[in-house]
């Protein structure tokens, strides 16, 4: 755990850079995390996924997996990988300021 400054705000993040307190998040922070992870511009499609992730997390306490994202976010899995290369669920969670999806156990 460490404290970093994102878009002028000090926030606590875990060892992999996931924010620990989702309420400290804002859109400028999102843009900064995205840029640091190779996404220079967040398009409407990116926002659709990020906002969906945040909403699911804030409502249910856990972030959806890629499979549920593909079924429910309105963005198919193939496109999710184009928008958020490597790991869409993880990267969208990081940009959305919510904890790393636990996957499952």
């Amino acid at each position: 755990m460490s404290t970093v400054t994102l878009a002028g705000t000090p926030v606590e993040v875990d060892g992999e850079g996931f924010m620990l307190d989702a309420t400290r998040w804002n859109e400028q922070i999102a843009a900064e995390i995205a840029a640091a992870n190779g996404i220079s511009e967040l398009t409407d499609r990116h926002w659709q996924v990020v906002n969906f992730m945040r909403k699911s997390y804030l409502e249910s306490g856990s972030a959806p997996s890629i499979r549920s994202l593909g079924k429910t976010s309105g963005v198919p899995i193939r496109e999710l990988y184009e928008l958020f290369p490597k790991g869409p669920a993880k990267l969208a969670a990081k940009i959305g300021g919510i904890p790393k999806p636990r996957g499952c156990i």
Partner: protein, 424 residues
């Protein structure tokens, strides 16, 4: 006043719960179990079938025969649950009303969700051992397999018994060595996770064990497509892996009726529930047990068994108009077969990851945690008769608490001397 408890599913959870409740509820309470067939499979046995270490017929018994006298058994497929009417519709038109509903219908395999899995090569070079037919077909394929690339692919979580794919790798390694053909076979474990398991300490231990046995790990590989014709799997981000024999673990979901039941399940068909009381979020008189539940612990028989005590208590309390008090802590334990007649044991809960130590008594054991031992293997074998004779009838295993940290007054037991919340 006559009351009815309706339990959907006559597998591990439905059976042990029905039997538990039958012992504690008065005769004015009807208990009915619904299932679409009368074949109860001892699922841990599926792992052994491909290696000829278990016969398919030896792991199947009648569901009805596992239920105590006084528990009704109805054969039928669920069409949908009508939460507003407290009723379940079966496909044959039967309508069953309930005072309390327990969902125990588990997880189903959804191979059709992965492009190409059921296409060319399914049953010849593309297999699974997560079903009885699949495990039997794989046995024949493995018997003939003596050189090439064996790829074991966990497609996506959640799956039942998340350690089983690793155990499959270990047992395959063992069998190939016994047959003297191990040098001709590359074994690769392919997983969407970033290591062998989801919990860090156990994952590091299992990664090391895979390494010792010469089993390659391809991690963070999210399979998007299987092409049996050219024997290749492709990840969503464009990586490719070739195989000669693929053992795939299909993605899991809830049974189809969940999607037909408004307000009951999540998009994957699992039932969101309070992780401590195991009451569904859908309705106050609906509870969930076992793999069907969307709670953050493993889909495993041990979990279902431990949940049984809590769900039974809460169902009883609900019917009596009392506040729910049963509290499940996520306790899970699993034996992990590592081949050569040895096994590891892991023990954990929602908050404490698997750690080294001794089980069930700290420091005494006799079973070592996170260490390979012959005793663990023997314990795993000894478990099968206990499953039918102790677990399904709804009793506890002597010395093993449903709680990771037993309530005050009970003998303390935790795995390790270190880690969050371990006993002093």
């Amino acid at each position: 006043m006559s009351r009815r408890i309706l339990i959907l599913g006559g597998g591990t959870g439905g059976t042990l719960l029905a039997n538990r409740l039958r012992r504690t509820c008065g005769r004015d309470t009807r208990i009915t179990v619904v299932d679409r067939d009368d074949e109860h499979i001892y699922q841990p046995g599926l792992l052994f079938v491909p290696f000829g270490l278990a016969e398919p017929a030896s792991i199947v018994r009648s569901r009805r025969a596992q239920l105590r006298d006084g528990v009704e058994f109805t054969l039928g497929e669920v069409d949908r649950v009508d939460l507003a009417q407290n009723a379940v519709h079966l496909l044959d038109g039967t309508l069953l009303h309930y005072d309390v509903l327990v969902i125990a219908t588990g997880a189903v395999l959804a191979p059709e969700e992965t492009e190409g899995m059921l296409g060319e090569g399914w049953g010849s070079v593309v297999h699974t051992f997560y079903s009885l037919e699949g495990a039997s077909a794989l046995r024949e394929a493995l018997e003939r397999f003596d050189c090439g690339r064996l790829v074991v692919n966990l497609i996506d979580m959640p799956i039942k018994c998340p350690v089983a794919p690793l155990e499959f790798c270990f047992l395959a390694d063992w069998q190939l060595r016994e047959r003297g053909v191990r040098d001709n076979v590359q074994v690769t474990f392919v997983t969407p996770l970033d290591g062998a398991f989801t919990k860090p300490v156990a994952s590091a231990k299992l990664d090391a064990l895979l390494g010792e046995k010469g089993i390659a790990v391809e991690s963070e590989f999210a399979t998007g497509r299987i092409d049996g014709a050219v024997r290749r799997i492709e990840s969503w981000d464009g990586r490719q892996l070739e195989f000669d024999l693929l053992v795939a673990i299909p993605v899991h979901g809830g049974p189809a009726y969940v999607q037909r039941s408004e307000g009951l399940g999540n998009p994957l068909g699992f039932i969101p529930a309070d992780r401590h009381t195991l009451r569904s979020r859908a309705a106050a008189n609906v509870f969930v047990i076992g793999d069907a539940a969307d709670v953050p612990t493993s889909k495993a028989g041990s979990v279902t068994h431990f949940e049984g005590e809590i769900v039974a208590e809460n169902v009883q309390r609900f019917l009596d108009g009392e506040e729910l008090s049963g509290c499940y802590d996520g306790h899970a334990n699993c034996f992990i077969e590592t081949g050569f007649q040895r096994a590891l044991l892991i023990d954990f809960d929602y908050d404490t990851e698997p750690l080294p130590g001794r089980f069930p008594e700290p420091h005494i054991g006799p079973l070592p945690l996170l260490e390979q031992s012959r005793l663990n293997h023997l314990a795993k074998l000894a478990f099968q008769p206990l499953y039918w004779s102790v677990l399904l009838p709804g009793y506890g295993i002597p010395g093993v608490s449903s709680h990771f940290h037993p309530p005050a007054g009970a003998p303390a037991r935790t795995g390790a001397g270190a880690g969050a919340g371990a006993a002093p």
